[in-house]
């Protein structure tokens, strides 16, 4: 019972935050909405008994990405009210998103999958996997992060040499 409540709360946070992201006129509200949504997603992870991932989610997204967004917003001077320009594209966007949702929901509800009660996966198991079977992708992921780091620095460097 309590799980259900927790689940719904998490959902509300997630979806509410998401709606804030896409609707809010104030862009900072949108950024905060993103934060809330991501926290909600972490909650959903907890419901699926993926504690480590929930932690990682909060750390990465909440700690890093939202901060980056706020910095980006600060560096690019954005006017607060963008309402007028949003209007023209709303119909098509609504159409597309509703269409996708209907499609996905239909496929979800019509598909039979056997389910069980959730069971936990220990963090030791995840570590074991990451370092044995998925070692190479793990290393490659670290290289990706390195490249992203270097790339981002290079791109925003102020100087004569441009890329």
């Amino acid at each position: 019972m309590s799980e259900l409540i927790f689940f719904y709360v998490a959902n509300i946070l997630t979806l509410g935050g998401a709606i804030t992201v896409v609707i809010a006129k104030n862009i900072v509200y949108a950024a905060l909405g993103l934060f809330v949504s991501l926290i909600g997603v972490a909650g959903l992870f907890l419901m699926g008994l993926a504690q480590f991932l929930a932690l990682a989610q909060i750390l990465v997204y909440g700690g890093a990405i939202v901060i980056v967004i706020l910095f980006a917003l600060m560096l690019t001077k954005i006017e607060d009210f963008r309402e007028l320009r949003d209007q023209t594209h709303r119909p098509i966007a609504i159409l597309a998103s509703v269409f996708i949702f209907v499609l996905l929901a239909a496929s979800i509800l019509l598909t039979e999958i056997r389910t069980t009660q959730p069971s936990e996966i220990s963090i030791e198991k995840i570590g074991e996997m990451l370092f044995n079977q998925w070692a190479i992708p793990f290393e490659v992921a670290s290289i990706i992060l390195l490249i992203a780091l270097i790339g981002a620095i290079v791109m925003v460097r102020v100087g004569q040499t441009d890329d």
Binding site: I92, A96, F99, I100, L103, S107, L110
Partner: protein, 624 residues
């Protein structure tokens, strides 16, 4: 000896070819004397080698030699030479007349700025002509045939700064081209049915009945068309009078003695083939006869010396074809020789006349030159008497042969036609001689200078055979000078007194009429005058042949050519060539609309189509 003789026949054209190449490299050096030297040495050497060949052929009957150029499947393209008596006679004529003409040109073309080039092309021409008569297969013959045409074009248009000369060269080439195409098709037809180009093989096949009679008919007619083009038979004769725009030695060499006889030579060579089809023989006869008569008529009214001689050439070539059509091959060839030499004399003499009068060729403006150019006048007279067929010069005997041949072949009616033609022949020659040399004219014709030695001696040398041939032709035995024995078909010669007398009378009648026409007045009878004037008009307009051709060209050929050009511009260029880029461009302009540059558009497109793919996959592929 056989070893040496086997390659001797090559030497003749090869020498001249080398001379041509040498002259080509040097024709500007020392005002062209070097080139002239090459050419003269080569032709003289060829003349000498010719006599060696004579002894060889007398010994062995004939010579042949071959060299394969390349081979496709089983067909070999061969350069082959075949020397039999017919070839030998023509070789003699060609080398002899070419030698005389080149020596003559040395004097005639003295002040010519392009002296060297003249001799260069001459050497080229002689090489090609020699190759033509030596060829043993039709392909090689055609090859040489075309080269000879090229030589003729270059020489007719030698003074190409003159518009009329350039036009004449073009006209000659195009008119003979029509014949050449027919010849090529004929050769191919024969090749298709026999698998070979070798003349001897083809004739063997034909005579053993291995070639179908329709094929023989078609092939022989086509080959004859080619001969008609080169030998200026009606209706392809229109180029020869205009070809007189070239220098006079050129006219003497090419358009009297050598190139124009290529057609006659071809017909003679292929005569065994022609004889199988009587239709072809009739065609040859009729065409020859028409040319003989029509050209003789036109020669009577021309005002230009060289044009009279040109029409005379057409007429005599027609006579040769006439003889061939009646089967009298030996007669035709004898006349070929006599005419070649005689006409060359006439042309070179006319060259003397015009050279002395600084280029004047209108005979209406000449007169009384007998006193001022005595040697020329006498030689001209000799040539005319020979060609008119008056005893005892060469022309008499050859004409006699022809008349007997025609009589044996076709009968008295055609002999009658022949005699009428004889009257006309001597008529125009007499008119020519009288007007130029004898009659005193009202114009003050002052001879500017006498012809130089180079122009006199060759003429005398040329006159010797004219006189001597006649006597030698009367020999029946197998001796060296007995030309009768020289032919593959040896027809027994009957010296028919009746014919001899008739032909001589006819010739004399012609002279008489000419005398009367010039010195007496016909003006009493008004009607006759008008009739004469009408006839004269038709004749002077050359029976309207040229006008007809021009009409055809303007109205038909040029219109078709314009239509084709239009088709090319519109269809090929605008639609096919330009069309493709234009199509690509228009498609591009349509597609461009979708490249709006708006990221949200792109995003939408991606999302939309991805979802469509998903939906499609879900609905169609999976079973839910």
């Amino acid at each position: 000896m056989l070893g040496i003789a086997w390659s001797l026949s090559w030497v003749l054209p090869a020498l001249n070819l080398i001379a041509f190449l040498g002259a080509l490299a040097t024709y500007r050096i020392k005002k062209g004397i070097v080139a002239a030297g090459f050419s003269l040495v080569a032709i003289f050497a060829a003349f000498v080698v010719f006599w060696f060949l004579v002894s060889e052929v007398l010994e062995n009957g004939f010579l042949s030699d071959q060299m394969t150029w390349f081979q496709i499947a089983e067909t070999k393209i061969i350069f082959g030479f075949y020397v039999d008596r017919l070839t030998l006679l023509l070789l003699g004529l060609i080398t002899f007349v070419a030698l005389i003409v080149q020596v003559y040109s040395f004097g005639y073309m003295k002040k010519e700025p392009r002296f060297g080039w003249f001799f260069t092309v001459n050497a080229f021409f002689v090489a090609s002509m020699l190759a033509l008569v030596l060829a043993d297969n039709l392909l090689f013959l055609y090859f040489a045939w075309e080269l000879v045409g090229l030589g003729s074009y270059l020489l007719i248009g030698f003074w190409y700064e003159r518009r009329s000369a350039a036009e004449a060269a073009k006209k000659a080439f195009i008119t003979t081209r029509i014949g050449d195409v027919a010849l090529l098709i004929g050769i191919i037809v024969l090749f298709k049915s026999t698998g070979t180009f070798q003349i001897s093989t083809i004739i063997d096949y034909a005579q053993s009945g291995l070639i179908g009679s329709e094929t023989i008919l078609i092939a022989s007619i086509l080959i004859f068309l080619g001969a008609m083009g080169k030998s200026a038979q009606v209706p392809f004769h229109v180029w020869l009078p205009d070809a007189m725009e070239g220098p006079t030695p050129v006219s003497a060499l090419i358009h009297a003695a050598t190139m124009v006889v290529a057609g006659v030579y071809l017909v003679t060579r292929m005569l065994p083939l022609f004889e199988i089809s009587s239709t072809t023989m009739w065609v040859v006869t009729i065409v020859g006869m028409s040319s003989f008569l029509l050209a003789a008529c036109m020669a009577m009214v021309m005002h230009d010396i060289k044009r009279v001689l040109a029409y005379s050439t057409i007429s005599h070539l027609g006579l040769m074809m006439f003889a061939l059509g009646c089967g009298a091959a030996s007669a035709a060839v004898v006349h070929l020789l006599a005419h070649g030499v005689g006409k060359a004399i006439l042309f070179l003499c006319s060259g003397n006349v015009s050279h002395s009068l600084d280029g004047e060729t209108n005979l209406m403006k000449m007169g009384g030159l007998l006193k001022k150019l005595p040697l020329t006048a006498v030689l001209f007279l000799i040539g005319s008497i020979s060609l008119a067929g008056i005893f005892p010069l060469a022309g008499f005997f050859s004409k006699d042969e022809i008349i007997s041949g025609v009589l044996d072949g076709r009968g008295w009616f055609f002999v009658g036609v022949l005699l009428i033609g004889t009257v006309l022949s001597s008529l125009y020659l007499a008119r020519l001689w009288i007007l130029v040399f004898f009659k005193n004219s009202q114009y003050q014709t002052e001879v500017q200078h006498q012809p130089n030695v180079f122009m006199k001696i060759p003429l005398i040398v040329l006159a010797i055979p004219t006189v001597v041939f006649g006597i030698s032709l009367a020999q029946f035995n197998n001796s060296f000078f007995g030309l009768h024995a020289w032919f593959i078909e040896y027809s027994q010669h009957h010296f028919n007194f009746l014919i001899a007398i008739l032909s001589t009378l006819a010739a004399l009648l012609g002279v008489f009429i000419a005398w009367v026409m010039i010195f007496r007045k016909f003006s009493e009878n008004h009607l006759m005058m008008i009739t004469f004037k009408r006839i004269e008009h038709i004749l002077i307009r050359k029976f309207f042949f040229d006008d007809f051709y021009q009409f055809v060209i303007d109205k038909i050929i040029l219109i078709v050519a314009n239509m084709v050009a239009l088709l090319d511009r519109k269809l090929v260029n605008d639609i096919l060539v330009d069309g493709l880029p234009k199509l690509v461009y228009s498609i591009g302009r349509i597609v461009r609309v979708f490249q709006s540059g708006q990221i949200s558009h792109y995003a939408f497109a991606m999302i939309f189509f991805a979802s469509l793919i998903f939906a499609g996959w879900w609905l169609l592929v999976t079973n839910t």
